[in-house]
């Protein structure tokens, strides 16, 4: 097939968006299901093309394809091309995005099913939902394929916009509207850094082409200072998008959106775009020790920091949201210690099991109409498919051998031991916390007796559990791509990592076998602790909570960061400080200047107006005297 077909991968969902938004939703509201069918069809097309592209890239030399680009802008000497980059990173991301998106779209048909008389689940909303989902999928696919910084930034903002639209999908709820605004503003903070980095790189290299920049960096044509600042700027964009500490505050609130949205955007794809961005610009990070260290520290700190908050939440989606932040921290750390091969491998595995966890939470919500785990329990009897798939995903997240999560996570832990010992301590502790919080969720939701009020507990329809089952299969097997180092060699062009050379090699690896044992033991201990507290009740949860009293409160209040941002930064520094100052400067300075000019002109005119007496003779006398004065001047001076 000709390589130009790659353009269709991201254009198909865009076509689907336009079709739904401009034709189906205004005119064919009665056949609302068409919106879902169009979306699913376009994504199936993208998925097929992505798989073809992955296959072609695998067979291509250097694992990259040349796709003809198109002239976009020509300003003076500056020519901006829109082109597509098809290398191993793009190919993997394309498959992740299309697979998860397809599963989520199928699932959404059940979750977003219109209910007569319910304004939250209306036919109009159904079509709007699928229009946005198409737009998001198209933007995300464009983001991973763009070969040009400007083009990439366009899609980068595009996914941010879709995230905003979908978090605020139920915009009549104040909490949803606020969460959407918060997400938009906080990610925008990071994007400022990203935009500055783009401009800075352009000023210093004269090109916006990503591969050209990498070539210049590799040739040593860019100074280390420039590379460091550019890499830090790019990372700041990634921090906003990937919800890294201290810009993580928007992600838990983003759970106000419909649950399939959380699964697609806030677990598998958009939030992972930050890790993708770092991987895309990894040659820059590699060239700067400072940038790489920052990446590692922020990643490691975020991993454990978010995990502690996940321990105490009662909202099932929030626990999973904190888990996502924590895992994104793992990815960043993985990128710092092992390069794209490792970071993206975790992204790849995480996408499937985390999307599955969210879909599971959505399925539970579909039955119980709540997200509060205190009103759940015992659902395993009513929802066998959801229970089974959630269990698999939880095991995968906890990192149990031989599920997919194990392969990437253990490698990150082992690599941190080699590269940064302090980070190793943090992520190893996080491994324990991860296993604990996710099984706390599992036991509180599916174990024990039902504590809620809903009378008709039921399994979700097949259209919902079928995609979950498919994702469950991926959550088990996706990591096996890297068992013999296949993934690493694909991403790293032939280079593989230490102990990944077989199913049991990690146990016999001379250097890392004890790391693997330790992390498995920690995960097992986490699961056991969760079992002891929330299932077998050998220890009462309240007792443990009291024992950790202040710490528990601290984590439950999210370390008071929301309060800090809202009261100190937003209200204190910005509203009362900066904005008040600007207001004064505006009133006294800008308005003062404008009014002052007007006022002085008025005062001057008031004086001058006395000269206009209406006495024609006076005017004549003035003219005559002026003439005489001129004549005298000519005679005596000229």
């Amino acid at each position: 097939m000709p390589h130009q077909l790659a353009w269709l991968i991201f254009l198909l969902p865009f076509f689907s968006f336009m079709l739904i938004a401009f034709i189906l939703r205004p005119f064919l509201l009665r056949w609302y299901r068409l919106a879902a069918y169009v979306t699913i069809l376009s994504i199936v097309g993208s998925l097929g093309l992505s798989l073809w592209l992955l296959n072609t890239v695998m067979g291509a030399a250097e694992h990259r394809l040349e796709i003809p680009s198109v002239q976009w802008l020509s300003i003076g000497d500056l020519n901006i091309q829109i082109g597509l980059l098809a290398d191993s990173l793009t190919a993997v991301m394309l498959v992740v995005v299309t697979v998860v998106s397809l599963m989520v779209q199928i699932y959404s048909q059940g979750y977003m099913k219109p209910i007569a008389g319910d304004h939250e689940y209306s036919t109009k909303g159904y079509m709007r939902y699928f229009a946005f989902m198409s737009l998001f999928t198209g933007s995300m696919l464009g983001l991973v394929m763009a070969s040009n910084l400007l083009f990439l930034f366009l899609f980068w903002e595009g996914v941010g916009l879709c995230s905003y639209l979908l978090i605020g999908f139920w915009f009549h709820k104040a909490s949803a509207a606020n969460a959407a605004k918060k997400a938009f503003i906080v990610t925008r903070l990071g994007d400022v850094g990203f935009l500055l980095a783009i401009l800075y790189l352009f000023l210093n290299t004269g090109t916006l082409d990503i591969e050209a920049i990498h070539a210049l960096a590799a040739a040593g044509a860019i100074s280390t200072v420039v590379i460091t600042w550019a890499a830090l700027g790019i990372f700041s964009g990634a921090m906003g998008k990937s919800a890294q500490f201290p810009l993580h505050v928007w992600l838990p609130d983003a759970m106000e959106g419909p649950t399939p949205v959380s699964a697609l955007i806030h677990a598998a794809t958009m939030v992972a775009a930050g890790a993708f961005l770092v991987a895309r610009f990894f040659p820059l990070f590699e060239a700067s020790e400072t940038a790489l260290t920052t990446l590692g520290i922020i990643g490691g700190v975020t991993a454990i920091f978010a995990a502690t908050m996940g321990l105490v939440m009662f909202d099932i989606k929030r626990v999973i949201a904190y888990s996502t932040i924590s895992q994104l921290g793992y990815m960043m750390l993985g990128l710092a210690v092992g390069g794209p091969a490792l970071g993206i491998f975790h992204l790849f595995n995480h996408a499937f099991f985390k999307a599955l966890l969210f879909l599971g939470a959505g399925s539970v919500n579909h039955a119980t109409h709540t997200f509060d785990m205190r009103e759940m329990g015992g659902l395993r009897k009513h929802m066998p498919w959801t229970t089974a798939t959630f269990f698999v995903a939880a095991l995968s997240l906890a990192g149990l051998w031989p599920l997919s999560g194990f392969w990437s996570k253990d490698e990150i832990i082992a690599e941190s031991w080699d590269e940064r010992k302090i980070m190793f301590v943090l992520v190893a502790a996080t491994a324990f916390l991860t296993a604990f919080y996710i099984f706390r969720v599992f036991f509180m939701t599916f174990g024990g007796q039902y504590r809620g009020k809903e009378r008709h507990l039921h399994e979700s329809p097949a259209v919902m559990w079928l995609p979950m089952a498919l994702l469950g299969v991926l959550a088990i097997f996706s990591g096996w791509w890297g068992v013999t180092g296949g993934f690493g060699s694909f991403m790293g062009h032939g280079e593989t990592h230490s102990f990944v050379s077989g199913f049991f090699a990690f146990l016999t690896d001379p250097v890392h076998h004890w790391v693997a044992w330790l992390s498995l033991a920690l995960s097992g201990l986490g699961i056991l602790t969760a079992y002891a507290i929330y299932s077998a009740r050998w220890v009462s949860a309240e007792g443990v909570g009291r024992a950790f009293g202040p710490l528990r409160t601290l984590a439950f209040r999210k370390y008071y960061l929301d309060e800090l941002y809202e009261r100190v930064l937003t209200v204190g520094a910005l509203l009362n400080g900066l904005f008040r100052g600007l207001e004064v400067a505006d009133e006294k300075g800008v308005d003062g200047a404008v009014n002052g000019v007007a006022r002085s002109v008025m005062a001057g005119s008031r004086g001058l107006r006395r000269a206009q007496t209406g006495q024609l003779q006076l005017y004549g006398a003035t003219i005559a005297l002026g003439l005489v004065a001129l004549l005298l001047a000519v005679i005596f001076l000229g």
Partner: protein, 102 residues
């Protein structure tokens, strides 16, 4: 002392100045009109003097005739305006005519 161009020009300047001062200082509109006539005639005198002493080119005399013609029309129009003003305002004092004031 023979009478030459210089004397005509001096007389003309004196007449013009008298007319100008009168036109700018008198309050009565009729007198102002008369002063304007004096100024016009001063100019005519100059033109004719230049004709007489300047090589007998006919242009100067023709100009003087034109000026008389225009002056006649101007006086007719000016007097009509003064009458009209007197009818509506019962005065011909120019200091009262300040409608063009701001």
């Amino acid at each position: 002392m023979s009478i030459g161009l210089e004397q005509y020009l001096l007389l003309s300047a004196v007449l013009f100045t008298i007319g100008l001062v009168g036109a700018l200082s008198k309050r009565n509109a009729i007198i102002v009109l008369m002063c304007i006539e004096i100024m016009l005639n001063a100019v005519n005198l100059t033109l004719v003097a230049f004709y007489r002493y300047g090589g007998l080119d006919i242009t100067g005399m023709v100009f003087a005739l034109f000026v008389m013609l225009v002056a006649a029309a101007e006086v007719a129009l000016g007097l009509a305006i003064v009458f009209s003003l007197y009818r509506s305002r019962e005065t011909v004092d120019l200091a009262e005519m300040d409608l063009m004031k701001w």
